[in-house]
């Protein structure tokens, strides 16, 4: 399923690979002594069945190796051209990141498994936000209210979880709150045909106001109302004991597993079921879908409400699976980053998940760098996801094609 790209772009990518290679040498080599080594470790807990020995490499060797490899790939791209050049681009980017890690941790050791685990944990709320966006936009309703829906889910899960002392009720309440805001967006966008970006903005402002108001009125006065029980990590037997993969994927709380399952589930629903076909038809060409007897409004209502529920789950995750309390504005832009992940992932569940992992990686990397006291301001790493999104959206790398009818209200004739 590779895309045709222009010769100009193919050439530019080849040159980019070579530049990446030289950048590795230019940026990281000068400060690296000949005898320095970097150690990567892979064991996180004692639950792994097999201990993987740590990998120690000469830092300079690692830099030469990665630089040479990406220059070679660039040469090949210029001379012959790869068929799946975006895969190679991903690989070269990975090489660059590896070279960077080798340089950042020179003379020290770095636990790669631990870093990937924290990457996944940071990616979960972004993934849920992205999935919410995928559900809505596949049926052609733009949802920039995800941030607000997550906030509502987070607040309600903290409050209800604390009152009932049960994370199950907290979770249920969060799904309900997300669904309600989803329904509000649906009514505004579908019934009243309000511009969808304005409707989403209104939801963000409303959710911010409501959660902050009730939080300072109740949660801050009665601390016991902001103390929900949390989901505990469950290690999956056998799978959890696999080295590297076990700690990364199979030693988490229920909500993490639910998210991973949702990624697969929504993919299947969208691309292999009748409902998914209808959703996509409504997203691409509602008039044609209507002619074929599909109820455009119903499809949109269901998808947008489902999207709200998924966003509410994202909010619940932040509270019930993470910090165990609600703080005002605690989503801190994750809803918007999720939207970016959705675009980056080309409106597919797996794409959104992959993009979320990249964003989660940038996030976890900057905390790691602070520990390693690397002289790079963490702010620049935190900027990276936003820059990458803008580059992708501008069509520099691949083409971002939203559903054709995205954002347009449907009027029955």
């Amino acid at each position: 399923m590779h895309e045709e790209i222009s010769i100009r772009k193919a050439r530019a990518l080849g040159i980019a690979f070579i530049i990446f290679g030289f950048a590795v040498l230019a940026l990281f080599l000068p400060g690296t002594a000949a005898d320095q080594t970097t150690t990567f470790t892979f064991n996180l807990s004692s639950s792994e069945a097999i201990e993987i020995p740590p990998l120690t490499v000469g830092t300079r060797m690692a830099l030469y190796f990665t630089a040479l490899l990406s220059v070679a790939l660039g040469m090949w791209q210029l001379a012959k051209g790869f068929k799946r050049v975006y895969l190679v681009l991903t690989f070269v980017s990975l090489l660059f990141v590896l070279a960077f890690l080798a340089w950042a941790a020179k003379g020290k050791s770095m636990n790669l498994t631990g870093m990937l685990q924290s990457t996944l944990l940071r990616a979960i709320p972004i993934t849920l936000a992205g999935l919410s966006g995928v559900l809505c936009e596949r049926s052609a309703v733009i949802n920039i209210g995800i941030e607000g829906m997550m906030l509502a889910g987070a607040f309600v899960s903290a409050l209800v979880g604390s009152v009932t002392q049960s994370y199950w009720w907290g979770l249920l309440a969060a799904l309900l709150a997300g669904g309600l805001f989803g329904a509000l967006l649906a009514v505004l966008a579908i019934r009243y045909k309000v511009d969808q970006i304005i409707a989403g903005t209104a939801i963000n402002i409303l959710a911010t106001g409501l959660t902050s108001y009730f939080s300072s009125r109740y949660l801050q006065v009665h601390q016991e109302l902001n103390h929900p029980p949390t989901f505990q990590p469950i290690s999956i037997p056998l799978l959890g004991n696999i080295p590297i993969l076990g700690p990364i994927f199979f030693n988490h709380t229920l909500l993490v597993y639910v998210t991973l399952i949702l990624v697969v589930l929504i993919h299947i629903i969208l691309f292999y079921t009748r409902w998914g076909l209808r959703t996509r038809a409504v997203g691409e060409h509602p008039r044609a879908a209507d002619t074929l007897g599909i109820n455009v409004f119903k499809v949109r209502y269901v998808n947008v409400i489902a999207g709200g529920i998924v966003a509410g789950l994202g909010g619940a995750y932040l509270v019930l699976s993470s910090v165990a309390r609600f703080d005002e504005l605690m989503t801190a832009g994750k809803g918007f980053i999720g939207l970016a992940a959705m675009i980056f992932g080309k409106w597919t569940p797996f794409g959104a998940f992959g993009a979320s992992m990249i964003f989660g990686f940038a996030d976890s990397l900057q905390t790691k760098l602070a520990i390693l006291s690397v002289p790079i301001p963490s702010q620049f790493l935190l900027m990276a996801p936003y820059l990458v999104t803008m580059i992708v959206l501008a069509g520099v790398v691949g083409q971002a094609n939203p559903p054709a009818a995205d954002g347009q209200p449907y009027e029955k004739e």
Partner: protein, 416 residues
Amino acid sequence: MTQEKEKDKKEKRILKINWQAMAVPLLAIFTALVLGALIIAFTDETVYAAFRESGFFGGIGRAVEVIRIAYGALFIGAFGDPKLLWEAIVHGDGEAFTQAIYPFTETLRVTTPYIFAGLAVALGFQGGLFNIGAEGQYFIAGLATVFVGYSLKGVPAIIHLPLALLAGIAGGAFWGAIPGYLKAKTGAHEVINTIMMNYIAFRFAEFMLDVGGPMARPDSFRPVSPEIEPSAYLPQFFPSNSAIRFNWGFFLALAAAAFVGWLLYKTTLGYEIRTVGQNPHAARYAGISVPKTIILTMAISGGLAGLAGATDILGVLHFMPNAFASGYGFDAIALALLGKSNPVGVVLASLLFGALRAGARYMQGIAHIPLDITSILQGVIIVFIAAPEIIQTLYRLKQKIEGEEGVVFTRGWGQM
């Protein structure tokens, strides 16, 4: 001749108060206030206590009392206590007079950045562009302004102040022009790009102002910039009373509103902006360069948002703290909507929001109502304004048959 007449008509339409057009915004505000009152009453523990102790009517009475106290405080916090003002006037006491109008000057001070930011979004709306990036443009403008403010020394105010303002305009315009350029050249939707650039601006400001960062105050342990030179200060309106932070920035904002009105309705560029906003395809046929207009609109919009940051720093703060603004971007959208993207409307909407914000602070002190009630009111107002049918059904208003002249922003993320 006919053109002249058209112009005349248009002018009259701007100046004449159209009550039918005003009905929806006014009723939206009213309904929002009623909802706010209900929220205040329902979240007050003394109301529940009164219901338990003195029955239904006692409870209702207590609820009315709570709402009266809250909204009374909101009013006094926004406009000042009429009783104090009257006494000051009667006694001819200048000191007491400035004290009495202090709340109102605070309202005007809060209104100032709102006007700029609201105008920024309104101008974008007119050009069919959705600038959610006022917040980021505000940050970058703040950085540029404060840099000119503290790094130039020994320059007379007549040069320093305009330079600092210009730096703010340039910073905001630059930050706004980038998503404009991307939209014009690649079709990338400005909403997502301005949101992304908000976060980039936020991180960039954090980096610049971080302790030990390039623009941090050398001897400080807080992430703040150095103080600007007094020659870059926007003059205070009441220099004798330093507590009053009201300054000439407000009149600058009014001038900006006049400028935007002139630009939109009296110049070729304004005509082009509005045409592109209403129908880019028609604009292209009419020979208007759509990409150029988009970039210019976003740059001017960014420059206006930048002035919000510049006047906040030059008139009020005199330095730049890290994370010194929050929510301007979204508030500005509400303002532009409420003001129907019309400069006069934006000024009026800004006054309302300024009064709400300033009053809410006092209300929090007196009646312990969290400030965030204003965000709830704003959210509700946007919903009602965006979906006027709700208000029309609620109050049995006559539905307008012909469609409102609106601009469509949402055309998908990556297309023109």
